[in-house]
């Protein structure tokens, strides 16, 4: 088993005249929590999207090494293959949760497994256990609008874990929260990922969030300018 869960080589990406990535090389070890920091427009979100297979780079490659099975060259996959990879192997947490408002908390979490063919009853049971583990027992049947920002974000974390994702990408997961709730959400995110032997990649502006991760990468003008391992 490769010690790295994901590797990127010589990534470049431009949007019109704007160069978002200008030759990025990156390797992330299994079980790491990596914070990607940088000013707005530095290319950090583009880097996350390219690593996750949401966007394809202009040049360069991304290789995902699953715990079991052969390495997968993400950048060589067609859109359908990348979508499948995202729903089966990766988890995502967005800034505003972006949960489906019509569904209840437990249905939002279970839906991720149901898309992968898990029976509804099993998916709901598994989802409820994740919600309980994240301190949301008794809130399974609440609609998203009936939850606080922190609670909704924990539902999103449970959704990212329900499929057993080896690698979780989080884009400003605490961006819309106060500092105390933000700390609680980071506790939940780290416990559910690195705490279970999984890997977490977080894009953040928040130095407190980055300080909780095992490594911080700084991005400027589409390049990685520093990579610091936490003491």
């Amino acid at each position: 088993m490769n010690s790295h869960v994901i590797e990127a080589h010589a990534l470049t990406k431009s949007f019109g005249p704007t160069r978002a990535l200008a030759g990025v090389d990156l390797a992330i070890a299994r079980g790491e929590s990596v914070a990607i920091m940088g000013a707005s427009g530095s290319g950090k979100t583009t880097l996350l999207h390219v690593l996750a297979g949401i966007t394809t780079p202009d040049t360069g490659s991304v290789v995902f090494h699953p715990a079991q099975g052969s390495p997968i060259e993400v950048t060589a996959l067609a859109e359908a293959g990348r979508s499948r990879l995202r729903r089966e192997r990766f988890g995502f947490v967005f800034q505003q949760g972006l949960l489906i408002p019509e569904l209840t908390a437990v249905e939002n979490v279970a839906l991720a497994s149901m898309i992968n063919g898990v029976r509804r009853k099993d998916a709901v049971q598994h989802a409820a256990s994740w919600l309980a583990a994240l301190g949301l027992a008794g809130m399974e049947d609440r609609r998203i609008g009936e939850l606080s920002g922190g609670q909704a974000q924990r539902v999103a974390i449970a959704r990212a874990q329900a499929t057993g994702a080896e690698l979780v990408f989080a884009d400003e997961p605490t961006g819309a929260l106060d500092s105390q709730t933000s700390a609680e959400v980071m506790d939940a995110l780290l416990w559910s990922t690195t705490g279970q032997g999984r890997t977490l990649i977080v894009v953040t502006h928040d130095a407190d969030v980055a300080a909780r991760c095992s490594r911080t990468i700084a991005v400027r003008d589409g390049r990685i300018v520093s990579s610091a391992v936490a003491a």
């Binding site: 979508s83 967005f94 489906i100 898309i115």
Partner: protein, 437 residues
């Protein structure tokens, strides 16, 4: 709220062009259809012979049947224009802008949009009039002079559309003013009480009794006038009963849902059965009309031996077809506008679903199912309702003139087909929203 804040609220945000265009188109369609229907019907009132009252009564029925759902579509357009501002207004309300300020901004915007849409609708009506003038009644075309409305009546229709927009905006905004956080977080679930079912069954029973009695005690014209009132009552009953039935059936579908698209579709309907009904209620009307009028025309064809009666039967068939086309246009407009507006409203969510790897087809299936399932239920349900009202006559028509049944099947099939096509038409918009990074 001062005029600077008002101007800020009314200024369209970036990327809102489509959101402005949708209610504008809907108001335009409403204005065109109302003017066309009234314009076409007015020529009947210029006739003075002994058959004229029959035509006038039938035109009154068609007007009742078309104007009520048209008002409903107008309301949908107004709500759409108000909803565009829902979230921003909720935020402003949370920030302390007064309820009066929020209401004023939205009403002014809705009326402005309705005004532009209505003006476009008047122009479309004028452009379509030469074609409407070619429709034959009593053996000759209606003629352009017969279908063009005087400026005063056109102005009244436009004024009506503006009033409808203002009223619907005020009603639609009540929940923003009362519960801004509820709208911001989309936590408001509309509930539909079972009492609707009891009221609806009661009204249906009274309507059935009246129809059974009237043919024997009143003259033909009186009967038709009474029937027009009963039609309107029946439509009101359908509107009362529809959301409740949708809630009950969606709850059952939710329990059985094993696939993600079925779960999503059932929850979408349950989130607002009234909204689901508003989208497809027009087909319920069309289905209702098809059974009711289809039965009548079939029986007249069989019984009408005299030339005048044969002409009347032919004209009734023409009127029925026009009414049905109008109904389909309303439904197509309603579904198209609502679907497109939902896609635009939920851009962020769709983008996140794409990031999660959810297949586009799964979302498309869920959205289509959330429309088509209530549609099938209401189309069949309203046909049964109308069948109950004209039960003895329909039985007779089925034996003597089976084309009545064919009309019903054709109408329901065409209605379902047109709505299905409309849901297909919004797929590219959803795909664009889905794929945007």
């Amino acid at each position: 709220m001062n005029r600077h804040v008002l101007a800020l609220l009314l200024r369209p945000g970036s990327g809102e062009r489509s959101l402005i265009a949708l209610p504008l188109i809907a108001f335009g369609v409403v204005t065109t259809l109302v003017l066309t229907v009234i314009g076409g019907a007015q020529s009947f009132w210029t006739w003075t012979d002994e058959m004229a009252p029959i035509y006038q009564a039938l035109a009154a029925i068609a007007l009742v049947l078309l104007v009520v759902p048209l008002l409903s579509l107008g309301g949908a357009a107004a709500r759409l224009s108000a909803r565009r501002r829902d979230e921003r207004l909720s935020t402003l309300r949370l920030l302390g802008v007064s309820p009066a300020g929020v209401t004023a901004a939205t009403v002014i915007e809705s009326v402005l949009l309705a005004g532009v849409g209505a003006a476009a609708g008047v122009l479309t009506y004028l452009a379509a009039s030469p074609l409407i003038a070619l429709i034959p009644f009593r053996g000759e075309a209606l003629g352009l002079a017969g279908v063009l409305l005087p400026p005063v009546q056109v102005s009244m229709v436009v004024l009506g559309v503006l009033l409808l927009a203002a009223l619907s905006a005020v009603i639609g905004l009540r929940r923003v003013v009362i519960s801004p956080l509820g709208v911001r977080m989309r936590s408001t679930v509309t509930t539909v009480h079972w009492i609707r079912a009891v009221i609806a069954v009661g009204v249906l029973a009274i309507a059935y009794a009246l129809i059974s009695v009237f043919p024997s005690v009143a003259g033909f014209v009186t009967t038709i006038v009474v029937l027009a009132g009963l039609f309107a009552a029946a439509i009101a009953v359908l509107n009362l009963l529809g959301p409740w039935i949708l809630r009950v059936t969606a709850t059952a579908q939710l329990r059985r849902a094993e696939r993600p698209d079925r779960l999503l579709a059932a929850r979408t309907v349950l989130n607002s059965p009234k909204a689901a009904w508003r989208q497809i209620g027009g087909i319920a009307m069309a289905s209702f009309i098809a059974v009711f009028a289809g039965t009548g025309v079939s029986l007249m064809n069989v019984m009408g031996a005299a030339e005048a009666e044969a002409q009347l039967a032919a004209d009734m068939r023409t009127g029925l077809i026009i009414t049905l086309i109008g109904s389909f246009l309303m439904v197509a407009a309603s579904v198209g506008v609502n679907q497109a507006s939902d896609v635009l409203d939920q851009r962020e969510l769709h983008r996140s679903l794409h990031h999660l790897g959810m297949p586009l087809d799964m979302v498309v299936r869920a959205r289509r199912r959330a429309i088509m399932s209530p549609l099938l239920i209401t189309a069949i349900g309203s046909a049964v309702c109308a069948g109950v009202l004209v039960f003895p006559l329909m039985g007779l028509a089925l034996i003597t003139a089976p084309e009545s049944l064919l009309t019903i099947v054709a109408v329901v099939t065409a209605g379902i087909g047109i709505v299905w096509l409309t849901t297909r038409a919004t797929r590219p918009l959803l795909a664009r929203s889905f794929a945007s990074v």
